[in-house]
Amino acid sequence: MIKPRDLPALVGAVLLVFLAFATLSAPWLAADPEAMNLAAIHAAPSLSHPLGTDELGRDVAARLLNGGRVSLAVALSTALLAAILGTAIGLVAGYRGGWVDAALMRMTDGVMALPLLPLLIVLAALDPAKLGIGDEARSSEIFMVGRMVVIIALVGWTGAARLVRAQTLSVKTRDYVRAATALGATPGRIMVRHILPNVASPMVVAATLSVGNIILVESALSFLGLGVQPPMASWGNMLTGAMNVIWSAPDQALWPGLAIFVTVLAFNLAGDGLQRALDPRR
C-alpha cells in the first residue's frame, strides 16, 4: 500500500524511468538532431516535427531527447565521480585521523568556501591545447562530455567527503572494526570491507540529491557557451539558441527549460524519498 507521503517520491521515480527510456531510445524515436532544413525554420508543431523546428530548421523534439541524453550522462557520471572522490577522501580522513584528517578537512573547507560558479567558468574556459591534449582528441564528443564531468566533480566532492568522514568516525570505534584490527587486517581492508558498507546508504542518498544540482550547473555552463558545444545538442545550449531568437520566436525557450526543470525536480523528489526510506530513525 502506498502512503500519501510517499507519493512525490513515486512520481519522481516514475518520471526518471520515463526520462531514461525516452532519452535512451532517442535514435529510434526521433529524427536526426543535427539535420538542418533552412526551408522550414521555426515551423509550427506537426506530425513530422512534434514540437516544431528551431532557428536552423532542426527538429526540436529530436534535439530535446538527444540533449537529455548528454545532460543525464554528464550528471550521472559526475555524481558518481564526485561520490568516489569524496568517499575516498572522507574515508582516509576519518580513519587515519590526526594531521591527515586535519589537512584533508581544511582542504575540504577551503573548496567549500569558494564561489563555485566563477571557479567553474575559469575551469571550463581553460585551453585544452595548453594542457597538452591533441587536436583530434579535443574535438571528440567523448572529450567534451568527459571534460564537463571532471570539472564539475573537481568542485563537487566536498559534501560527500564530509558525510563519509562523519560516518567513518562513528563506525571506526565499533567492536567489529576493533576485532578486525586485532586480527591483523590492513587499514585498506578495514576501510573497504568494514567501514565502506556502513557509509554506503547515506552516500547513495547524497549522490541522488546531488544529480539535480549537477544538471543545473551543467546546463548553466552550456548556456553560457562553456559546456557542450553546438552542433551537439544539450538543454543548456538549446536555451542559448532560444535566447538569441527570443524576439522572433519566443516559444523556443519553453521546452529545453521545462525539460531541465522536470528532470531536476524528479531527481530531488526521488532523492528525498530515498532519504526517508533509508533513515533508520523513521
Partner: protein
C-alpha cells in the same frame, strides 16, 4: 574568542593565498595570451614587436616569476588596466559591486519576506495541507534553472506583453535615467532571483522552527500559559533565526560575487557579469581581481556568520 578569530582569519588568508596561486596559474592556461590578442587587433604590429611587447610585460618569464610580480603589484594596490573596458580595474569594480548589491540585496529581502512566513506557516501545520503546499513550492523553487526562469519572465513580460524592458539598467533614449525607469529595469532580474531563492529559505525556516518546537523551553512556556502567538514569535521564531543567520552569512559573499547567470541573461552590469565577461574575454587583470574579491568576500561571509552567531547566542563559545 580573539584567538579563535585570529586563527579563522589566518585560515581564510591561507585559502585566499592558495586560491590566488591556483587562479593565476589557471589564467595562464586560458586560450591565447594578451600580446597575441593585441597583435590580432592591430595590423601595424609584427612578430618582432610581439617579442618586444612580451619582454616589456614580462610574459617571456617563467610562470612563478610572473605570479610573484603580480602579487607584488597587488600588494602595492596596483591592480592594472582592463583590456576589455580600457580603464583601470579599480574604476570598473566599484560600480559593478554597487549594481550587484542593489540587485541581489533587493531580491534577498523580497525572498525572505515571502519565505519566512511560508516556512513558519508550514511548521505550524506540520503534515497539513499548508505544509504540503509550502513543500511543493520549495521543491519547485530549488529545481528551477534560474536562467530559464529569467527567460520565461522575459518572454512573458517583455516580448508578449511589452510591459517591462528585457535588459540593461536604464533606457538609453528619451526619459531614461529616472527612478521609475530604473525600477522597471530591476523588476525582472529581481523577480528571477527572489523566486529562485524562496525555496531554500522556506525550507530552512521550516526546519529551524520545527527544531525549536521540540525544545524543553517551549514546553515550559506552554505550561506557564503562554499564548500561542507569543510562543511562536517571542520564543520559537527568535531562536529559529539563529541557523538562518548562518545561511545569510554564506549569502553575504554571493552578494559581492553577483548573480552570474541572472546578470548575464538580463545584461545587468554587476560583478557576476563582469566575472563571466572578463574570463571569457581574456581580460586577465580584471578577471583575476574580480575572482579574488569574490573569494575573499565569500570567506569573510562565513567568518561573519560565525561571529554573529556567537553574539546572538550566548550558548556558543569559540575558543
Amino acid at each position: 574568542m580573539t584567538g579563535w578569530l585570529t586563527s579563522r582569519l589566518l585560515q581564510s588568508l591561507a585559502v585566499l593565498l592558495v586560491m590566488s596561486v591556483a587562479v593565476h596559474g589557471l589564467m595562464a592556461l586560458m586560450p591565447g595570451d594578451p600580446i597575441d590578442l593585441m597583435i590580432a587587433s592591430d595590423p601595424h604590429l609584427n612578430a618582432a614587436d610581439a617579442i618586444r611587447l612580451k619582454a616589456l610585460y614580462g610574459l617571456d618569464k617563467p610562470w612563478g616569476e610572473r605570479y610573484l610580480a603580480w602579487a607584488g603589484q597587488v600588494m602595492r594596490g596596483e591592480l592594472g588596466y582592463s583590456r576589455l573596458f580600457a580603464k583601470p580595474v579599480l574604476q570598473i569594480m566599484g560600480p559593478a559591486i554597487a549594481n550587484s548589491l542593489t540587485l541581489m540585496g533587493t531580491a534577498l529581502i523580497l525572498s525572505l519576506l515571502a519565505a519566512l512566513p511560508l516556512g513558519i506557516l508550514a511548521s505550524r501545520h506540520q503534515g497539513g495541507w499548508a505544509d504540503h503546499l509550502v513543500n511543493a513550492i520549495s521543491f519547485a523553487s530549488v529545481s528551477l534553472p534560474t536562467f530559464w526562469l529569467g527567460l520565461m519572465l522575459m518572454v512573458l513580460f517583455s516580448v508578449k506583453l511589452g510591459w517591462l524592458p528585457a535588459g540593461g539598467m536604464q533606457s538609453l533614449t528619451g526619459d531614461g535615467g529616472g527612478v521609475l525607469d530604473s525600477l522597471r529595469h530591476m523588476a525582472l532580474p529581481v523577480a528571477t532571483l527572489a523566486i529562485a531563492g524562496i525555496g531554500q529559505y522556506a525550507r530552512h525556516t521550516r526546519a529551524a522552527m520545527l527544531n525549536e518546537a521540540a525544545q524543553d523551553y517551549i514546553r515550559t512556556a506552554k505550561a506557564k500559559g503562554c499564548t500561542p502567538r507569543r510562543l511562536v514569535w517571542r520564543h520559537q521564531f527568535r531562536n529559529a533565526l539563529l541557523p538562518l543567520v548562518t545561511l545569510l552569512g554564506l549569502e553575504f559573499g554571493n552578494l559581492f560575487s553577483g548573480a552570474l547567470i541572472t546578470e548575464t541573461v538580463f545584461g545587468w552590469p554587476g560583478m557576476g557579469k563582469l566575472i563571466a565577461d572578463s574570463v571569457m574575454g581574456n581580460d586577465f587583470n580584471l578577471a583575476l581581481t574580480a575572482l579574488m574579491l569574490a573569494t575573499a568576500m565569500t570567506l569573510l561571509g562565513s567568518v561573519l556568520a560565525d561571529l554573529t552567531m556567537a553574539r546572538l547566542d550566548p550558548r556558543i563559545k569559540y575558543r
